[in-house]
Symmetry: C2
Subunit: 136 residues, 2 copies
């Protein structure tokens, strides 16, 4: 019913990198966001794979945002961690509503759920980190 803590953390981690505007190692990120180091590392890796942040190994290594802040949206982060926002399981490939919700059953609700889900995705995509950092 709500986004996971992990996604919430991911958002805060990117926000942390965005507002500090410098390379930071996992420890500093963990300290500043309050997310445990290990869990931070896990989330950071996902963000790296998604191309939202870049990582550097070795001494002086750490993480930086990978692109301009106005090209990173809330939706990017959330989708990276938990896939596209969907209001109902109807909208995920595997799930089939029992049956009988009408004849033929391409389910009365599916269309509505889909429409709302897409609007949420759009809203989340409209929120850029450049704005989030400015009026902090």
């Amino acid at each position: 019913m709500h986004i996971t803590l992990e996604a919430d953390y991911a958002v805060r981690i990117v926000h942390c990198l965005a507002r500090n505007a410098r390379r930071m190692d996992a420890k500093s990120i963990s300290d500043e966001t309050g997310v445990t180091l290990r869990f931070s590392l896990k989330i950071l890796r996902k963000l790296v794979s998604a191309g939202i942040i870049k990582s550097y190994k070795g001494t002086q290594g750490g993480y930086e945002v990978a692109r301009p802040l106005d090209e990173i949206t809330l939706n990017d982060i959330i989708e990276t961690v938990e896939g596209p926002f969907t209001l109902s399981r109807c909208l995920k490939g595997d799930y089939s509503c029992g049956q009988n919700c009408g004849e033929g059953c391409d389910c009365v609700f599916r269309g509505i759920y889909e429409e709302i889900s897409q609007e949420v995705q759009q809203k989340l995509s409209a929120v850029k980190f450049s704005d989030l950092v400015k009026n902090k």
Copy 2:
């Protein structure tokens, strides 16, 4: 991240009552929706408490919708089962985001999450069962 199965079932159960437009006992509802009898009973009770449907005990007992179909919305059902839709835990009383997401920390994201959540609630409130039954 998505509404629970229970809420989904609740929606289907009310839809079932709405389109049949007659008193039905739990067994028939269970058969028609594919939700197990026991779980149906549990959900039905919640819907009764919320005043969305009425129940009748004894022989010939069962359930009926409690008000006109254009006064029952998708949001009514979902809210009954799992409370108002909230995109993030930020929006629930108990939860506090770690800290440090800016000074003072009434958290940058809270406003955005709240706005989107309210829009979802409005969208769900706009869907009346009278419409859902018509164009099944």
